[in-house]
Subunit: 430 residues, 4 copies
């Protein structure tokens, strides 16, 4: 059994359409509406969108002006206005449910948001060459979530056409890149009865034809936004009257990267987005840093987080400024369950196009899929994070990232077969 | 003779209208059009706008998208579209000419641009209380150029009504705050035959009723924009693949402020506007600093400029990035001529409302009026920079700056009388 | 068989005497002479000191004045002048050889140098309480090398008294802390015929009674010294004439710690000793940083080393200074051979006082024993780095570090028994 | 009247002997003893040394070990042990008194300490060429205090031989470079009855033959020593256990230089001597900065001082360290009295070898002579700080600084004549 023919062509069309319309977290209006359009033509049992799939409390939601701008842009690009209206307040994302008789409830989680990266616009970058480059200038599907969402749709089709017995729920999750979407989706209710959860990522430096049955080594992560407030002044006439928020920010950046490494494992820190001031001749009154810290364990992440807060506060004090530190999102570490990964691995080994199967691999990155995985695991269920290799010319999060579309076929085949087998075998049940 | 009654009321209306529509350098579309409207009702001999008054080569001009946005905004706010069209490419500003028989040519230079500062919106800030607060959110007449332009109009009226013999040219100069407008206006042709040049600034920490006949102590200044280019990477997965432009920028900022002070006099440095990166989880690929250096002399400014360039380049190299440094505008130092200032001082001492006259004062700031002053002085003419005190609640370049409107009356009276007397006395001529 | 009675007391006396006379790398004059005194009373076959045991080329040797000062201090403290003379030029250390018939050549490497740390001088620090605190103020055996050297002597005695057949060479290596002694001792000739090499470290956060049969996870390391040269000036009168080497150094330190972490594994950086300038009122003409970088692999260490050099050079350039970077010592990563470790583990499990045996452990530090281990392994031999636990109140490299002297007994017993068994079993030989 | 012949030769011998024995503040044992030797041969009325001339409370006194070392070195170099004994505790310096009948009391203040600079040792540096280079390696008379002390002796001779009526007191002040000696000497009692005070400095970028009658523009200054305390740790094994005092120090240095410049006048900051840490592989537990701030006024100095304290404290906090800030010495600003300077100027204009007399000049440096000047001025007396030009090859505080010895003759002539005339004219007395 393999996705093929017009059905496969249709998936590629979907992927390329999503690729053309990359949207950052909580702003996936076009993406959600497009998926609704696509899925409403299927014989699904339930389709829940926006506020129905997310807990109310969310981090990192942009202000109304920005939400409105993206909503309008989505409608301008052809999104259905009635769906976009249902996503008001940035409650994006959806959950599709297929009920096929008695059997376990299997969840598949795919993420749908994009990144603030300007896509490469020259050969050999295929989206540029073949005309499906980002139409939202400055934003890009540079991590393959367009493929993830597409695979999610393909798996629904394939499982619907199979002998699967049980319930399948596909979670199309918003705001993964800002690690803000995982927690509210985990708490949104639809995950509570899931017995087995699969999550999916393409690439991760694995080539097309390679599958990782159960990825481990998720870094716990915390995103923050620090806002420095000082006082402006005429830079020529009265520099001494200023309280320079940009100097504070620069001191913070220099010293954030200097938080000591740790014996117990890998740590990370990044000041990924910064800004401040207004004009050359004005002492800057305000500045900000949006950044993150990570750790191989939650403890290591918290070690970094504590240090980062100290650095930010002292940098403000050093230049007589104030600082507010906002927690923008967090994700814990996580582990795949071997018993569930074993089923995926066994299926993958028999799947056409798969040349190599790894039991496990260390991610070295973060993912708020861990919120969903933990939610299931804490309730006695099993979870596995599956890596589906893809030849990607540029690295993840770079302007030349792209996926080998063959990966979509492989992803659909491996996951749909695995889901069918999970329904039959119920791994982990004595 | 004093500006009064409905004429004065009309000037206050003009000032408040300009205050409501603050526009930054090369984007003074509304301002220029409003002044044209105002002046076309006067019996002037010539009125030149935009490309007619500026040399072609200009620094710091925004891109077309931004120019268009401000031009549209101006028209939306009521600016005449035909005038705005004549300013295409950001050639803003105007020169008004009054010819009154034989006699010297006297120039008056006023500047018309505003600052990227968000205006205070609460009592006791009068523009907020009385309803003429900035309608261009984020921008503000925080340095009194609205009053300057208004005084320029008032002086034209007053001189037209006087016994002045000679020619009066009022230069409404754009882009003073970015020190980009002075040089092209000095080279625009209209200044070549000017025998006496007066320039004007309100406030400067002098209260209403105080006049400085000839301000000195202009700091030479240079504005720069440095753009750092590195490489993005996934901050969790592969931090070592990034070349972190924000780290480079932060190192630059920290060390720019550390350029050694100088024995020979005052120096300044400011990193007034900075930014970089895209998202918390991406190693920043690009960053920038817009800043300035100043010196009590041109040599001191160049000392600072050389050091700043070294710091910017080394900061880039330190983090394996590239940097491009763009020269965004410069102004030399300058001095008022005593003989011309003496005429202003004598007039001021006799003017109603003036309680104190200072021969001179040290500005401690910069001004690209120095380009115009030098242009006249190099051709054998005389120049004086006149300070007209005003009670200002907040400092220059702060959100609560405002002018005491009585200053407008004093400014018009002192300058128009001085111009009449210059015509009669021809100071400096043997 | 266990070291006991007066023999054990004598070892404790030796350890405490060495503890009282801590000497940093290439300056172990007292230590070497004291060991010669001790060993000359034994029926050894050979005793080689100084230039006889080290390759000529060495890094990080102090200047003659400092060597002379330490040599004098050693003689003043009771070291034999004739031995000290043989160590001229800082060729410290020794190799003791015991030949017992046919059989393999087994090497034991112990290190003998101390650290520039001021020892705690209050209870409950036992050396302070019991009167064997450091007499070289500012230096301290804060890493247990006093115990290592003592165990080396004890093992010679125990093996001499055993049925061991083969040759035993004990390498008393200088300059481990500065990773300068390992390479010249590896190349000194005496190691060339060694078939099995054991190296030893006490503590490493393992308690008394725990033994690690084969430690792994050595970080590759590189030490550097960077010397910044600028120009002095009167800080009040002419700050602009200075080229500030301390500013360069501070910028370097801030940015060294900011070298990006790496996907492939642990990295480290430390600016461990810095200085610069002469007086408050003089712009500093010179400054220096002594530091190190480490990596989980040699490649990772070199990644750090390349970045460190870039940072140091750019920091100098930023402040118009020059910098010279000196390579002060390096050590590669390393691994214990399982077959040899297995013998140690088996012996340890039967040794009185040993309660727990770990096959392996990750060091997370560096050691130039790796030079000796590699030298043996590259010639077809086997090597194992043995950890002998000890309750240590303070951490390694802190003022309150101390060893539980029971460890000396355990160390001698485990290693001497292991050596005897290696002679008999010849692990790894087909 | 001019110093000449053997008397002048003897002064040159004295100057060169002092030059050979440069001693830093509170350690001028040789210098004081040599001056006592010299002066005891003169028919003086009083000669007070050490504790007799200084208030008890002093800043920046080294510890006893260092004082003893310099005292021994002085005796080894030929200083009289009985005099050195009288200076115990670092109470160096002396006051010589000449009483010549009725008349005002005139003070002359000269300073006697040297700098921690290594003197140039190659041609064309004259002390190197002619054999009177510093014998205290690392220290140097790089500011001309050797000439000052010599001129003080010469003036005593010349005034003794003149018709002067009144009392002359010459204050040979220690510890000027560390601005620690002025305050205790001002409070030492001998200054209380002084009616006129002259102070002296050679050079200051004025050539031989130029005299400044009354120097102004002294920068107020404050010296500080900040000691950072963190925690050491093994840099490879447990970097996270360290609290890195060197990182704190480096952050402090970077940001000290970034304290904003001030509208009201010149400011200075210098981190002149820094250090920290112990070894490459240990996270540094301690670090320090010795530095200074200056201001054109005392208020500006205090502005800098407040900011410096904030930066130092925040830098410590940023890296979880503590900091202690010690006040090491201060000097206020100061002004010369015109009436007294006028006498000096008139005399200078008539003195052989003087080609140019300036009424005044801006120092742009600091001097704790201001303590003595203020002390006299506050009691109704007059003070003037006299500049005696000298061709100096290298700048003040650089390794190639030297004085043109002709300056000694000019200095003695101008000052002794001025003192005689002050006695006669009593300037400022109605």
């Amino acid at each position: 059994m393999s996705v093929d023919g017009p059905e496969y062509e249709s998936l590629l069309d979907l992927r390329r359409d999503l690729h053309r319309h990359p949207e950052p977290g909580w702003r996936e209006f076009y993406t959600t509406a497009r998926l609704v359009d696509e899925l409403e033509t299927r014989p699904l049992d339930e389709l829940h969108v926006g506020p129905e799939v997310l807990a109310e409390e969310r981090r990192g939601v942009p202000d109304d002006a920005e939400l409105d701008e993206w909503a309008e842009r989505a409608v301008d690009a052809g999104a259905r206005a009635d769906v976009v209206d249902r996503l008001a307040g940035g409650y994006t994302g959806l959950v599709a449910v297929l009920r096929r008789g008695e059997g376990p409830t299997v969840g598949l989680r795919v993420d749908i948001d994009a990144l603030p990266i300007t896509e490469a616009d020259e050969a050999p970058h295929r989206p540029a060459v073949e005309g499906f480059r980002s139409e939202n200038e400055g934003f890009m599907h540079a991590c393959g979530h367009d493929a993830h969402a597409t695979i999610g749709v393909g798996v629904l089709d394939a499982v619907a056409a199979s002998d699967f017995e049980g319930t399948l729920k596909v979670f199309f999750q918003p705001s993964e890149e800002t690690i803000a979407g995982g927690e509210p989706m985990a708490k949104g209710g639809h995950l509570d009865d899931v017995d087995y959860l699969l999550a999916l990522h393409v690439g991760l430096d694995h080539p097309t034809g390679e599958v990782v049955a159960g990825v481990d080594g998720f870094l716990a992560v915390s995103h923050f936004r620090a806002e420095f407030a000082g006082a402006s002044a005429h830079a020529g006439g009265h520099p001494e009257r200023g309280r320079n928020a940009v100097q504070a920010m620069a001191a913070a950046v220099q010293n954030l990267y200097g938080i000591p490494r740790h014996h117990d494992g890998a740590t990370r820190v990044n000041a990924g987005l910064v800004g401040g001031g207004t004009a050359s001749n004005i002492v800057p009154e305000s500045a900000f840093v949006e950044g993150e810290v990570r750790g191989e364990t939650t403890e290591l992440m918290e070690y970094m987080d504590d240090h980062a807060a100290r650095v930010l506060r002292a940098a403000a004090e050093m230049h007589d400024c104030e600082v507010e530190i906002h927690d923008e999102g967090r994700a814990p570490g996580g582990e795949s369950d071997d018993e569930l990964a074993a089923v995926v691995g066994a299926v993958a080994a028999e799947t056409a196009g798969v040349e190599s199967v790894l039991d496990s691999d260390q991610l070295g990155g973060s993912e708020d899929a861990t919120y969903l995985m933990r939610h299931v695991q804490e309730r006695g269920g099993l979870a596995a994070y599956v890596g589906v290799g893809t030849d990607h010319p540029g690295g993840h999060h770079t302007p030349t990232f792209d996926v080998d579309e063959e990966t979509i076929r492989i992803g659909v085949d491996v996951l749909s077969e695995a889901i069918e087998r999970i329904g039959a075998e119920r791994p982990g049940s004595a």
